[in-house]
Structures are given as C-alpha cells and as structure tokens.
Amino acid sequence: MATSTLQGRVRTSTTESSGDDQPLDTVVVKDAIVGSLLHMADSHVAQVRVAWIAPNTTVSGAQGYIVPPAYGTDTPVFLSAFGPFPIPVRASGKSYRLRVRVAGSSSGGAACKFYVCMVPAGSPVGRTDATELTDAHLTTVTTVSSSAAWLAGTSNRNAYNNVIEADPARVELARRVFNTIKPGGATISGERTEFQIYVFGSTANAGTSAPRLHGLVAQEYVG
C-alpha cells in the first residue's frame, strides 16, 4: 500500500516556497511536502524491469518461447534468468515489491507449473532450486493449456497474488559497492542492491508435456 497520505502528488505554488524566514503551514508540510515526496518515491521512481512477450512466430520466425532442454516429472528445472538490475530498498530494509506476470503453456496437456524468484544477483541456481521454492518472494502459476496465456499466481507466504519481494536478509546479500562518475568524470563509489529474477518450470508428466515460457513482466511497486 502507499506510504503517502493522498496517493498522489500535491502541487505547490512558487509563492509557497519563496520568502525566506517565513513560517510554514502544517498542511503544506504534511500533504504537499512530505506526502508528495513519499508519493513520488512510491510511484514515479518504481521502474519496469522486465517487459517481455515473445513476438508472433509468424512474423519473427523465432521459436517464441523458452523450453528446458531436459526435465523430469514434478522436478522444477531452471528456465531463465533476468537481470541483474538495481531494485530500490524501502526504509523497512525490504526491497520494493515486484508486480509479476508470467506467460506460459504446456506442450502436451499435463499440468505445468512456473516459479518466479527474486534473488540476489549471481545466486547459484542449484541453491535457489533448493530454498527459494518454498519462500515468500516467489509466485507460482499453473497451466494445462497448450496455448500461451498470462497466468494468475499466488505467493507462498503472503496474501499478495502476483507480487514478490526480498526480505532484509536477501537485500543485504544483494548489496553491492559500485563505481561510477561525477559530473566532470571523477570517479565516485556508491551502493545499490542488485537482484535477478529466476524462472523455473515443472511438469506433472515429463513424457508428454514440457513447460514453455512465453513472457514475463516485472514492475516495481512499493506495495
């Protein structure tokens, strides 16, 4: 949910910010200053990190989906990694949430499941396989259709369908020092958190059906 009072930016006039040493009205401070700052941090700052849907195969000539080269029944296998990208951190120590949508299909009609994890950049896939699939920053979606469709998902440990986040422990693991430049070119270092999104798939029948990933959307949302 929003951290601001009014879920929107409140316009301020130039006269409200001119004239040194005049007292400020409480409402101006609360709604126009603090509320607007919080709202811009809630909504403006939040970026779209992934927006992929496969082009129509009839015009692209491409396969149009990602499928694992090998897979077994009821065993999650790695499908794809996105990122790393810098996800902002909230004052609570948790990351901004990601609003996630997955497009998938089953090649043969058996139930296929997709898992979306938000992990510190560079996390080993094997370890992710073992621990992330039961954690909160995960959404799972299931389909039996052979046609590509956006799928509804549920997070394992919270009530927010299609929304995932990283807890403070994983935020700390994702924290990196990086070098960049200042105006004029001098080097300066900073800190940011770098995350990746891992997508896994599984099938209820490896003999007939493969999980096929057609698209993924991940949008930051303060939640």
């Binding site: 930016r9 700052l37 692209s60 927010y160």
Partner: protein, 337 residues
C-alpha cells in the same frame, strides 16, 4: 555542503507533522534525503526482453530504442546474455553503445553452446534530458555466431548530486546541512530546493515497453491486412502523478520502412481503450513522428497497484500496402508530459 543520495529510501513519518509542532530538523533532513533519492535514482530505459536474435559470425546486429533520458544520468548500463548459435564454440562478441560509434568492448571468454553468457557494458553519454534514440551494436566473431538471449538498459544511480551550482536547470537537490540548521521556516536553500524537486524534478518511470530486433532482420508484412506483432498483449502500467489521475500519458514510435507506398502500425490497449495508428512512408529506416496515448496508471490503494484488479494489455499489429513494411523497433516510453 553535500547533496548525497541515500542507497536505501528514507521514509519520513507523517505523524511527526502536526499543528503547533513543526517537524524537527532531523525530519527535514529526511525530506532532503528523499528529494535527492528521487533525483539520483536511475531509470530503466529498456525493460529487459528476449530478442532471440541470431547473429552470425562476422555479422553485426544494431538494436535501437527511443526514449527520453533524464538530465541526472551520467552513465547507462547495457546488460544481457548471449549463447553460441551451435555446438561450435569459441565465439566472442564486440559491443558498442551507441551502435557502431561507442567505445568498443570485447568479451573474450569462449561462449559455449546452450550456456548463456552474460555481458555488462557501461556507456557514458552526454548529459541530456531530451527525447532521443539510444542504441547498441553486437558483433559476433568465431564459431557460427551467437544468439542474443536477453537485453536491457538502465541508468546508473547517482551516489551524489553536484555540490556546486545546478545540474538540472532551476532544480537542485537539497543541501542536507542547510536543512539541519534551518528548520521549519522557508529558506531558498532548504525548503525552496525541496519544493523545486516536487514541482519539476524528474523521477520518472521511463521505459514502458521496448522491442527491437536487428534492422537487417526485421519483422515484415507484405501487402495489406493487419498481422499481430506479439503473441499476447503485454501488461503495461504508468506511474500515478496527481491525486485524481487514472491514466498516464506515454509516447510511442516505431523504427520502420516500406519498400513502396505506405504501411501502418497500430497499437491498442484492453482497459484504457487506446487505438492509435501511425503511417510509415519512408523507404529508408526512420523513427516515425512521436505519438501520445493515455494508458492506465497505478492505483496505490490496492495491494498490487492494478486499477480495478485489471491489467491494461497492449497489443500491436502492422500491415504493408502496395509494398512490404519492415519493422525493427517499437518503443513506448514516458516522457513526463
């Protein structure tokens, strides 16, 4: 004086602001930090996507995107992954951004078949807050080439804004020390600086949807009759600005050409009701004139931000006319208008 940008977002308490008890200097300090956070946090220009683009050995792929950059950005990161196009490994890639003219970086590690190999390229563009093309070129050498599996681009966060003078026209990030010593009264170097960020500071969600392929291997359609560009409509959502807003204006353009006559590209949205068409008449690749549409914006009263619990799905289709239309990029971005 310093205009530092905190790595984690401050969250000043609204309950510390009440009549008869003006917020303390420590609260003002957090307001200043948050204002600098808005200016210094980098934008994503190209939301990551899967080009699934094969680049043969000795060939170069040029990928172009349209966006409006932020004045605060000093560096951009292009990142993605490639894999060998066949079992013949040992391929390397040369990356340049902007395409063909940027500093050349070679990624020498042998790239094996079926193994995605990540790359990160840092571009230092001239500071600009204008609508423009950003681009990257990738040349494959060795083996049978590579398949470009992922691509994205974001601005590097600013750890610190410029100490002296103004970087963004009339907007400056607050000097945090000034807020410590001048609490609860108007002051051009305290309150005035925060107010200028709120009025016209650029903290946009920039990239909404970007899709590009090599202009030597475009998506094509001969003759009239629309054909879908995408497998499914893609979920999009703009940021919310003012309190009563339910939509967000965003811009779009395509990089395309026709062999003769004219062609069309049409986009539509499922919830905000957009139906907009652009005509392509150039026989050489060019960006079409930028058009503006209104898409859904976030509803911050809901747990997932979706207005009415419904995604706004963007679809795109295109057609030739007497000739063939070649489409190399579709860009949708928020220019802040």
């Amino acid at each position: 004086m310093s205009r530092t940008v905190p790595w984690a977002r401050p969250e000043p308490s609204l309950t510390r602001v009440y009549a008869g008890g003006p917020p303390s200097s420590t609260e003002w300090y957090q307001y200043g930090q948050l204002a600098n956070f808005l200016l210094g946090k980098g934008a994503q220009h190209v939301p990551e996507y899967v080009p699934e683009l094969t680049i043969g050995s000795g060939s170069t792929a040029n990928l172009r995107f349209r966006t409006k950059t932020r004045g605060s950005a000093l560096q951009r990161v292009w990142y993605g992954s490639v894999r060998a196009a066949s079992a013949v490994s040992g391929v390397t890639i040369d990356v340049q951004a902007p395409a063909g003219t940027g500093t050349l970086a070679t990624y020498p590690a042998p790239i094996a078949w079926r193994r995605e190999w990540p790359f990160v390229y840092i571009e230092a563009p001239a500071t600009s807050a204008s609508e423009q093309e950003i681009s990257i070129s990738i040349k494959a050498t060795g083996g049978t080439g590579v398949v470009l599996d992922r691509l994205g681009c974001f601005d590097v966060d600013r750890p610190q804004l410029e100490d002296a003078g103004s970087e963004f026209g009339s907007i400056t990030g607050p000097h945090l020390e000034a807020l410590l010593s001048r609490q609860m009264i108007k002051s051009d170097i305290g309150f005035g600086e925060i107010a200028s960020v709120l009025r016209s500071g650029d903290a946009r969600r920039v990239g909404i949807f970007q899709l590009a392929t090599n202009d030597n291997a475009p998506w094509t359609k001969a003759g009239a009759g629309y054909v879908s560009l995408l497998t499914l409509g893609v979920p999009i959502l703009g940021h919310k600005d003012l309190i009563a807003d339910t939509t967000r204006k965003v811009s779009w353009s395509v990089y395309a050409k026709v062999s003769s006559g004219t062609g069309n590209v049409q986009i539509a949205t499922s919830h905000s009701g957009v139906l907009d068409t652009v005509t392509v008449s150039s026989v050489a690749y060019a960006w079409t004139a930028t058009r503006t549409i209104s898409i859904d914006c976030e509803d911050l009263t809901t747990v997932d931000g979706l207005p009415g619990g419904v995604w706004d799905l963007l679809t795109a289709q295109f057609q030739g006319g007497v000739g063939t239309i070649s489409l190399a990029a579709l860009s949708i971005w928020n220019d802040g208008a």
